[in-house]
């Protein structure tokens, strides 16, 4: 796989100039013809990018609606906390965020409606709606696919969608199965012609070859944009089953296709970093949050139209708005610095789970993300022991077992995994979930047996 070195990155980004003068100068250096730098927004602070195809002036910070805050209803069922969502949306819009990305499957199917309720309190032309055709769980006919699309229009209380995505396709084969053979893609192209879909694209998780196959369809269908996973760890450390973001972005730039960015923070993994990484980032910029590094990295790519962040809490929203109002692009030094940070990070044996919950619900009741996230937390805190001879064995054992019971109830713990492998196909990070769960289960069993 071709690695993009920092010179090329900078050539594309013109970041050195940006570091001195903000974003105004960048447009001339941008070799992705699909995206242009815009003036700042209504408040004169948030950075905006223009989609050259449609002319949309999109805030560089987009709201990912996969992680809205949840509460329990009177029956103990998880429901979206609509009041909190309204408050977050109000704050976001007041501070210049105008891009909202959802999907029918998010949050057990509740995301679109909740987002729609919050957004419909504003004039439709004030914001861009992005949502997806999520026909990847189970079998869907064309009619069911169309129904899903119409449901999205209804949920958002609108008659057009600004950005519509084929949800999570990894190669031509999957595209054919889900969209080509049943004629769904033709329907969607027609809808675009009719103006009910303003921009048509797809979201991608998969190998380089798969990406090439899908981009080859650009000539047939014309992708108005593509949603890719881009962050400083995945830039060159995406692992064998995923594709380095440097490659994905370069391919999109070549064709002038704007990109949307997902997982800029890896579901918080680039904010909850091991202590000495945190120290390293804080030493470099004591004022900036740890997360701000990840957002600046994603935003520094000029071919990026918007960086989508699933902000559950007000403080996350506020911090991100601060980072992007306006965006301070990375300098050459800073880019180098993050590359080295990524090298360090990739040496940790964490499981690359971003808590997207696509694997859930596990039919056997496990709380898969909770198990993996708890393990990652212990890795980051240096609380994984290699055996009794470790000097901190007793402490690490107690900490792991107690915090594990707190994080995951008995009937949802790793030792309940039967290895049915139903989850594997759902994981966009291509984690071999049963294998990881069994590995963690064995580690825990050894801790319990105290051996």
């Amino acid at each position: 796989m071709k690695k993009i070195d920092r010179r090329e990155f900078l050539k594309r980004g013109g970041a050195a100039a940006a570091a001195v003068s903000g974003m105004g100068l960048l447009t001339s250096c941008n070799n992705n013809k699909g995206v242009a730098e815009s003036d700042n927004g209504p408040k004169g602070e948030m950075t905006y990018r223009t989609n050259q195809g449609s002319g949309d002036k999109v805030s560089i910070l987009g709201y990912g609606c996969m992680r809205w805050p949840m509460i329990k209803d009177e029956n103990g069922k998880d429901i979206v906390d609509q009041e909190a969502v309204n408050r977050l949306v109000d704050y976001a819009i007041a501070n210049g965020v105008n891009f909202f990305d959802s999907a029918p499957v998010y949050l057990q199917g509740q995301s679109e409606k909740a987002t729609g309720i919050a957004l419909s309190r504003y004039p439709r032309e004030n914001y861009f709606i992005s949502t997806k055709l999520s026909n990847h769980r189970g079998e869907y006919t064309k009619e069911e696919g169309i129904q899903m699309y119409r449901n999205s229009l209804k949920a958002f209380q609108t008659d057009y969608l600004d950005y519509y995505l084929l949800h999570s396709i990894k190669n031509l084969d999957v595209f054919n199965k889900r969209f080509k053979n049943n004629g769904l893609i033709d329907f969607l192209v027609e809808e675009r012609k009719a103006g009910r879909i303003r921009n048509l694209g797809f979201s991608f998780h998969g190998s380089k070859e798969g990406f090439d196959e899908l981009l080859a369809l650009h000539e047939t269908y014309h992708w108005d944009f593509v949603l890719i996973q881009l962050n400083y760890l995945d830039w060159n450390h995406a692992g064998s089953r995923n594709t380095n973001a440097s490659y994905l972005q370069a391919e999109l730039d070549k064709r002038g296709i704007p990109s949307l960015v997902m997982e800029p923070l890896l579901g918080g993994r680039l904010a909850n970093v091991p202590d000495h990484i945190a120290e390293r980032l804080k030493t470099r910029n004591p004022q900036g949050s740890i997360a701000s590094w990840a957002f600046r990295f994603a935003g520094s790519q000029p071919g990026v139209l918007s960086v989508l962040s699933g902000m559950t809490y007000m403080e996350h929203l506020q911090d991100n708005i601060k980072t992007f109002s306006p965006l301070q692009s990375l300098t050459e030094d800073e880019f180098d610095f993050l590359e080295k940070t990524a090298d360090l990070l990739s040496s940790y044996p964490t499981v690359p789970c971003n808590d997207c919950k696509y694997c859930m619900p596990c039919p056997y009741g496990l709380d898969i993300p909770a198990i993996l996230l708890h393990y990652n937390k212990c890795v980051n805190e240096g609380m994984i022991t290699s055996g009794k001879e470790d000097s901190n064995y007793a402490k690490a054992r107690r900490a792991y077992l107690i915090s594990y019971d707190r994080a995951v109830p008995d009937l949802r713990q790793a030792d309940r995994c039967i290895g049915c492998r139903k989850c594997i196909k759902h994981c966009p990070q291509h984690i071999n979930i049963p294998q990881e769960i069994h590995r963690i289960s064995e580690y825990i069993e050894n801790l319990r047996r105290n051996k």
Binding site: Y106, M360, P361, P363, I402, I418, G419, H426
Partner: protein
Amino acid sequence: MLRKIRISLAVFVFISITLLFLDFTGTLHAWLGWMAKIQFLPAILALNLGVIILLTVITLLFGRVYCSVICPLGIMQDIISWIHGKTKKKNRFRFKYSPAKKWLRYLLLGAFVPVLALGANAVALLIAPYSTFGRIATNLFSPIYRLCNNGLAWIAERVDSYMFYSTEVWVGSISSLVVAAVTFVIIFILAWKNGRTWCNTICPVGTLLGVLSRFSLLAPVIDKEKCRKCGLCEKQCKASCINSTEEEIDYSRCVACMNCIDSCKEGAVKFGVRKRFFASAQNDKENQNDKGRRAFITSGALLVGAAAKAQVESKVDGGLAEVSYATKPERKLPMVPAGSVSLRNFENHCVACQLCINACPNNVLRPSSSLHNFMQPEMNYDKGYCRPECNICSQICPAGAIRPISIEEKTAIQIGIAVINLDNCVVNTNKVNCGNCARHCPAEAITMVPQDPSNENSRKIPAVNEQKCIGCGACENLCPARPFTAIHVEGIEVHKTR
């Protein structure tokens, strides 16, 4: 002075032994486990000669100090009575002499011994003092203690501390809870009104020690020359055994609390050598057979009366599938922990104090609800299984029902055998690969074999090697099938060492 010593010792013992019952972390047992072992009935059942001799000698020397400073149930009654005394000033002098209910005492003792010997422990142990206290502590005090702990754990979790961890609060058996509650209420009322009525009329250990204490060398003695028959000592005697008008003390009921000594303004009551057979030379003709049978039947009936007793694939992301504990299977034989040697040994020795139930960190032990081993612990694997690194119950059992074994010994003791019901197995019902039982079997007794013997590549189903299975229940606990698991452990009569 003697009274103060008695109170200090009693407070220390009561707190320690209560903590022993409440502690679920396994830390206190090493320090306080001996306190359960010096209890009278467990020592008898464990044939712990050293303790039996020691207690006999102590009683022959000093009277029933056992009842005052060692028996937790006795101390608990003192505490209840003491609180009553504190409520109003006049309540300080709330006792008065009453003659012994000799027929009832000796009948109950007379019934208790053969019933215990015949192995009908469930009935006998309803009135055994240490067992009674154990059940009250386990069923009533422990949940409160655990709730408080969970409150602290809740706070600890929020400050990211591992000082406290949360534990499960659950009722192992409703009938056992009812028995404990009813006994507690009865004892509370008796103690509140009349001090040591329970100890001196119902408790078989009290009666037995009373027989010995009649001959004790030292006891409170009334100096008839100094005594002015003011009756202060009688009014403060919680055993109601001082007859101040006659200047006599019933030593079979005196628990050597020394309250009378401190109460006497004339200094007429002293703890000293007494003349033999001073007070209680009456013979016990009441202990007649017909009466005995009747009383036994009535009390037995009374006590028995008190005891009356996966999944569809989702089309959206996130959420949790419903989960539930497995339904308890019908076991032909109950299971008891490694170290019990055999079901018979266990049932004959167990005093149903439920100390082990509280101590079990894996939520395996719970009181039985069936009649023949009522309130004695038995194992179930819905909430956990008998983990290989744990031998706590064997270390703390005071009665020799679960004999001490090491962790290493435990891994080789078979306490049951897993049996498989393939109709429930998810490999068959859900058409998936599983093998969770085999993956977690610590004895490697489960092999996954092809469903279709002629086809190597067919799905694998579990098969148990009966020789290697130790009955720990890991397979049953972790089996995903609901409501009944596809594999469960059946108890065996005699435990075997592999």
